[in-house]
């Protein structure tokens, strides 16, 4: 029990005390009732439905479907498209971390050096704006700009007409992942700076003053004051990113990709969606459930691990 009032009592009197407390908090329980119903219906009932991963789906419902053990998982192990999706998910996530992760940090440090508050605010407004748009809008703009008749192709054509002949941002497997990383930076890097700017604001200004008096230039102040002040936040953010590698940014990829780039861009999430709802292959509902379960279990382990480490760095453990 959370409440110390009922802790030291024993037996009957303890139950009485708890009952009294429950009565005391009756309105609070009433408030909690609706949120709890929501969580049970829309979060826990689907978890109950996970048993489908070990069943052959029948139209009579999940409970009435016959158990088939690990058949779906066995099929998963021989499904090439599944492994393709798994490796793609990991590769794209790690590329986004390696290339995209340092971006907001550098941006925040640079923004912090801007000494005209008004211009800084304008920049911040521009940088953070795309975060609030859906990937449908961003993808629509990208498809137009980078499409085969778009402005980018025209620019390349004017620079190097020979290279432009079979240049393609959207349908070329070699460059498509880079395109995903780039658009991700474009949309989210500005938003990522906010958390770092908040940490920089928390650094004691006396440190900067002392350093300036001691003759430190800008570069040294960044290197010896700003960066050390950011290290904790950087580590926490990195851990949280690593914890999320199995989440394959469905919205982005689903709105940008096309069959020519499936080999490099089909992630677990898009794979599940395609085999279930676009019926490109006829499968039993249990199979995508099994793939989803596989993903969620790994995701769960990674998140818990990342959270444990982040807690060691002073994060309060909420992702």
């Amino acid at each position: 029990m959370d409440n110390p009032r009922s802790q030291n009592l024993s037996g009957k009197s303890r139950w009485k005390a708890i009952k009294k407390e429950i009565l005391y908090y009756k309105y609070i329980y009433l408030m909690l009732l609706f949120p709890l119903i929501f969580f049970i219906v829309f979060k826990y009932v689907p978890m109950y439905g996970l048993q489908l991963a070990f069943k052959e789906y029948s139209l009579r419902g999940i409970a009435a479907s016959p158990w088939i053990g690990f058949d779906h998982f066995k099929r998963m192990m021989i499904e090439m498209d599944f492994f393709r999706a798994l490796t793609n998910t990991l590769i794209i996530s790690f590329q986004k971390i390696v290339i995209g992760f340092p971006f907001p940090i550098i941006l925040a440090i640079m923004l912090n050096e801007v000494f005209v508050p008004k211009y800084k605010r304008v920049l911040q407004t521009i940088y953070t704006f795309p975060h609030f748009l859906s990937w449908i809008i961003v993808a629509g703009i990208c498809l137009n700009l980078f499409g085969d008749a778009g402005a980018m192709k025209k620019i390349i054509e004017s620079i190097n007409p020979a290279a432009a002949v079979d240049w393609s941002f959207l349908y070329n497997g070699n460059t498509f992942r880079g395109f995903l990383v780039g658009t991700d930076i474009w949309k989210e890097a500005g938003w990522g700076t906010i958390i770092y700017l908040a940490s920089i604001a928390g650094i004691d200004p006396a440190l900067y003053e002392a350093a300036t008096i001691d003759g430190c230039g800008r570069w040294k102040r960044i290197l010896y004051i700003t960066l050390p002040g950011l290290v904790t936040m950087i580590v926490i953010q990195l851990l949280l990113r690593i914890g999320g590698v199995m989440d394959g940014s469905f919205d982005q990829i689903f709105n940008l990709y096309s069959p020519p780039v499936y080999p490099v861009a089909d992630t677990i999430d898009t794979f599940i969606y395609r085999i279930t709802f676009q019926r490109e292959v006829a499968v039993d509902m249990g199979f995508p459930t099994a793939v989803g379960l596989f993903k969620n279990v790994i995701n769960f382990i990674l998140l818990i691990g990342a959270n444990r480490f982040a807690r060691a760095f002073g994060h309060d453990g909420i992702i």
Partner: protein, 310 residues
């Protein structure tokens, strides 16, 4: 005395700045110029695609085809916007999106506030309830069981499927809960002595004290609901129940869609494909463009709270 007061006032000033630094006393250097240049280039690279989208939506298609890269519109026409606004489907989708956003946000906020306030109380079983809720951040049933659930509870093909299952964003709820917890408990205690119950305390004392924070998360929920498309794609079968985002997706991804469905009976001039796509995009992001610069403070403060609260 007055000099001391003055000097403390002055020394306090730098604390207020976002970037308390010594470099204000220094001169503008080459490095400053370089940083400003890089930052401005990045800002332009974010702005240009939007600008380009607007340009494509207002210039005649034959000009766009000849020179897709434009800095200035050589000729302005409003045909694409005329076509978009003539579409019954676009108006219908917009109405749906507005309904979903308003009703959905109200529903989200009510559930979120109830949950966050309840979790601040040391009631028996609190740790269990908290665990039950936070656990769903780490683990979920996945999309197939969710799909079957929606089918079972008869939310298929209703606007409610974009509202009811959205419920509570746990992250927002936890931040609000932390904030409620940080309010001085003496306020509540005195109200309790006056005979107020928890519901009255929440409405009359806690909520008025948290208005800026609630404004922030109301905005977040509004953006989330306005951007809703995935559940619509999965669960909505008839086009007149589509939200704007899904209609937009169809216009962008399906080359024939604008021709056949957007304005029935009127065939889209063949050459306006890109123009109509971009016009629809501009229309869809227009509300966001209008409110964001003015309400930016609220948008950013939510993230700051999430970052600094530890």
């Amino acid at each position: 005395m007055s000099t001391i007061a003055k000097s403390t006032k002055q020394s306090k000033k730098p604390d207020k700045l976002i970037a308390p630094k010594g470099n204000r006393i220094q001169k503008f250097t080459l490095a400053d110029g370089f940083i400003l240049f890089l930052l401005s280039v990045f800002a332009l690279s974010i702005l240009y695609p939007f600008y380009n989208a607007v340009l494509v939506s207002i210039v005649p298609q034959q000009i766009y085809v000849r020179s897709p890269f434009m800095l200035w519109p050589p000729e302005i026409i409003g045909d694409s916007y005329g076509f978009v606004f003539k579409s019954r489907l676009i108006w219908k989708s917009m109405t749906n999106s507005v309904i979903i956003t308003l009703v959905g946000t109200a529903y989200n906020m009510i559930l979120t506030i109830l949950c966050s306030y309840a979790l601040t109380k040391p009631l028996p079983g609190r740790r269990f309830f908290r665990f039950l809720i936070v656990f769903t951040m780490y683990f979920s049933g996945g999309i197939i069981p969710y799909y079957l659930l929606i089918k079972d509870v008869h939310l298929m093909n209703t606007l409610a499927v974009m509202i009811i299952p959205t419920g509570i964003a746990i992250m927002y709820m936890l931040i609000i809960s932390n904030y409620f917890q940080s309010l001085p408990p003496s306020l509540e205690e005195s109200a309790k002595l006056d005979g107020a119950n928890d519901i009255v305390i929440l409405i009359r004392i806690i909520l008025p004290l948290s208005l800026p924070l609630l404004a922030t998360f109301t905005l977040y929920y509004m953006v989330d609901r306005w951007n809703e498309w995935f559940s619509a794609m999965m669960f909505i079968r008839t086009t007149d129940k589509w939200p704007l985002q899904l209609t937009l997706r169809q216009i962008i991804q399906d080359a024939n869609f604008a021709n056949t469905t957007l304005v029935p009976g009127q065939v889209k001039p063949d050459t306006y494909g890109d123009s109509i796509k971009m016009a629809s995009i501009v229309v869809t992001m227009f509300p966001m463009m209008m409110i964001y610069p003015f309400l930016q403070k609220y948008f950013l403060s939510g993230m700051m709270l999430g970052a600094v609260k530890e």
